[in-house]
């Protein structure tokens, strides 16, 4: 399942990022959300290192000033969190244009990713890379984790499946599996809404709710399969398949043994 996910085809995130950028810029101008650029707190050195990397690996699609080209959306205002998510999961830099960008091996160090993130954040305000107390589920009570399950089933399971195993979306797109996704990346995805995924803003889904969801996912996927082997874990579809293979198939072999004449003396 994990392996398969890696090789899936994805599309570029262009429209999503474009809309996001427009919104954030727009909101910034309107003064509704006058968030300070996080880049100002970063060292100039980190931003410069990030710019160098950006020019090398990102600018061919996103433009030299991250203003966007026909190949990629503008990154002004997408925020550091978006960069950390896209590069940290190997979705960016993209190898080619696809229906949906797949998760791939990450070829950049966390330091390099953070540098690019700092540079992109310096271009326009956007969600910052979260600190661990924002997403870490540590210290949640059983009841809070159970509520996380409720939140997950209300907001996430429709696309990502009942415990985050993934699901199909129209025209070859899909909601990826969350089983191996890190807590930070889940948090960043909810806040930035990568590709077709809707955003879950802080006001509607406070950090506490996100932590509960992440806590539930960790516990649900960390628990044993109480009943035994899951055999594909595709619900009634795989159960139906196995009842034919093991049940009908296996018992037919037994039936053949029962009905066949045993070894003869000649």
């Amino acid at each position: 399942m994990k392996l398969l996910t890696k090789f899936r085809r994805h599309s570029l995130a262009r429209p999503a990022l474009l809309i996001l950028a427009l919104v954030v810029v727009g909101l910034g101008y309107a003064g509704v959300n006058p968030q300070r650029s996080s880049a100002e707190t970063e060292t100039t050195q980190q931003v410069e290192q990030g710019k160098a990397l950006f020019d090398l690996t990102c600018s061919s699609c996103h433009g030299l000033g991250a203003e966007g080209t026909s190949q990629g959306p503008t990154l002004i205002g997408v925020g550091a969190a978006a960069v950390d998510f896209q590069m940290g999961t190997g979705r960016m830099p993209a190898a080619r244009r696809e229906a949906q960008l797949p998760v791939r091996e990450v070829n950049y160090s966390q330091e390099q990713i953070e540098a690019v993130a700092a540079y992109v954040a310096s271009l326009g305000a956007g969600p910052a890379i979260p600190s661990s107390e924002q997403y870490s589920p540590e210290g949640l009570s059983d009841d809070e984790i159970a509520r996380g399950g409720s939140l997950f089933r209300a907001n996430c399971s429709a696309c990502h499946g009942i415990t985050g195993g993934g699901g199909a979306m129209p025209n070859g797109k899909f909601a990826p599996s969350l089983v191996d996704t890190s807590s930070r990346h889940i948090y960043e995805a909810m806040r930035t809404g990568p590709q077709q995924m809707p955003t879950f803003s802080k006001d509607v889904m406070p950090d506490q709710s996100v932590r509960e969801i992440i806590g539930y996912l960790e516990d649900a996927n960390g628990q044993p399969n109480h009943g035994g082997l899951t055999m594909g874990d595709a619900g009634p579809v795989s159960e139906g398949l196995w009842v034919f293979i093991i049940g009908i198939g296996g018992l037919s072999v037994v039936a053949t043994w029962i009905a066949k004449k045993g070894a003869r003396a000649r």
Partner: protein, 354 residues
């Protein structure tokens, strides 16, 4: 019994090769070789002897293994109790079966038997006899002389079914027009009802939603309900609230003031068979139902773009109240959820409406 019956006619009618008769019986190994026979005998005994051992193991596992103990063995990461009981119990039962069959295959006499078969149909005498008995019975009953008896008893029996059927009329309320209007054709949405985020019940303000955001919302009034009422209303009232760039979507003239700067609310209940839908693509504005893949365009009044659903998703008119919160302007203008026969679907939004 069928022994008096006739055999099937002309059994050899189609034979172009003469029936050679049943194949010659050849002795089994276990018959010819005493050693082999004894080995099979021992094997059957051993299998049966393993059953008590497994049965005791089952009981030991039942009492000794704690319920929260787990086995972690390769792919198998499961309850030790479940695996233990299943493996010992299953194997025990399986061995009884294998032993019995091995006994039958290797040790019981295996000369094939032939049993004659007879036609199912009775012979002419039997048929005549039963017909005669029936005729005698009819004669004795007297219906021939008083023929009305038969019709009368048949009619009486038929009418006696009616009360039995009518007894079921209270299985549910009768969905006459008035009842329908109060049940399946309405929801608890009404003027000034707040939109709350589902599960954490936060009231929504327009600035809380970013473009590309989807919120699964419920009416504030739902929280006042309990039990069955709560479930029934929750099955109709869920909505998805989405925010889109007003420039990138089509808002018909009649629905201009149903939305707040690109924030639109739609019923979450699919118009196909009623699954709650929230699989939304922020770039295409398409909403997909995970049950049967009906796809609706929330950027175009909820019209169907793919799949088996036939009607657009009902849109809930919303506005901002004095305190800056999102509230409904009224109930849905059409019934939500799947079609039913008495549903007047002429007021639904269809392609081309404005």
């Amino acid at each position: 019994m069928s022994h008096d019956n006739l055999p099937v006619k002309d059994p050899d009618l189609s034979h172009v090769v003469a029936d050679p008769g049943i194949e010659e019986h050849i002795e089994r190994f276990t018959d010819a070789d005493k050693g082999a026979g004894n080995r099979a005998y021992t094997a059957v005994l051993l299998m049966l002897a393993a059953v008590p051992v497994l049965a005791i193991a089952f009981v030991v596992i039942y009492f000794a293994v704690p319920r929260d103990a787990y086995i972690d063995f390769g792919w198998l990461h499961a309850s030790a109790m479940n695996v233990g009981l299943g493996a010992t119990g299953g194997l025990a039962v399986l061995l009884i079966g294998v032993a019995a069959i091995q006994w039958a295959r290797a040790l019981m006499g295996d000369h094939e038997s032939v049993e004659e078969r007879h036609s199912v149909a009775s012979n002419a005498d039997d048929r005549a006899l039963i017909a005669q008995q029936f005729a005698d019975g009819v004669e004795q009953s007297g219906v021939k002389r008083r023929p009305l008896l038969l019709g009368a008893i048949g009619g009486a029996l038929g009418f006696s079914v009616i009360p039995a059927v009518v007894l079921f009329a209270d299985m549910g309320p009768h969905p006459v027009k008035k009842v329908r209007r109060e049940t399946i054709e309405t929801t608890i949405w009404a003027e000034e009802v707040l939109l709350l985020n589902d599960v954490n019940w936060l009231p929504l303000r327009p600035e809380m939603l970013e473009v590309g955001q989807l919120v699964n919302a419920q009416p504030e009034t739902l929280l006042e309900l309990h039990g069955t009422e709560y479930m029934i209303e929750k099955a109709k009232s869920p909505i998805v609230v989405v925010r889109m760039d007003p420039e990138s979507i089509r808002i018909p003239e009649s629905r201009r003031d149903w939305q707040v700067s690109g924030i639109l609310a739609y019923s979450k209940i699919c118009t196909h068979v009623g699954c709650p839908i929230s699989l939304w693509e922020r770039q295409t504005h398409h909403l997909l139902c995970p049950c049967h893949q009906s796809t609706f365009d929330l950027g175009d009044s909820g019209l169907v773009v793919f799949g088996p659903a036939a009607r657009a998703l009902p849109q809930l008119p919303i506005r901002v109240n004095e305190d800056g919160y999102l509230v409904a302007q009224s109930d849905f203008t059409v019934p939500v959820g799947p079609s039913f026969f008495e549903r007047d679907s002429r007021n639904d939004f269809v392609k081309g409406d404005n």
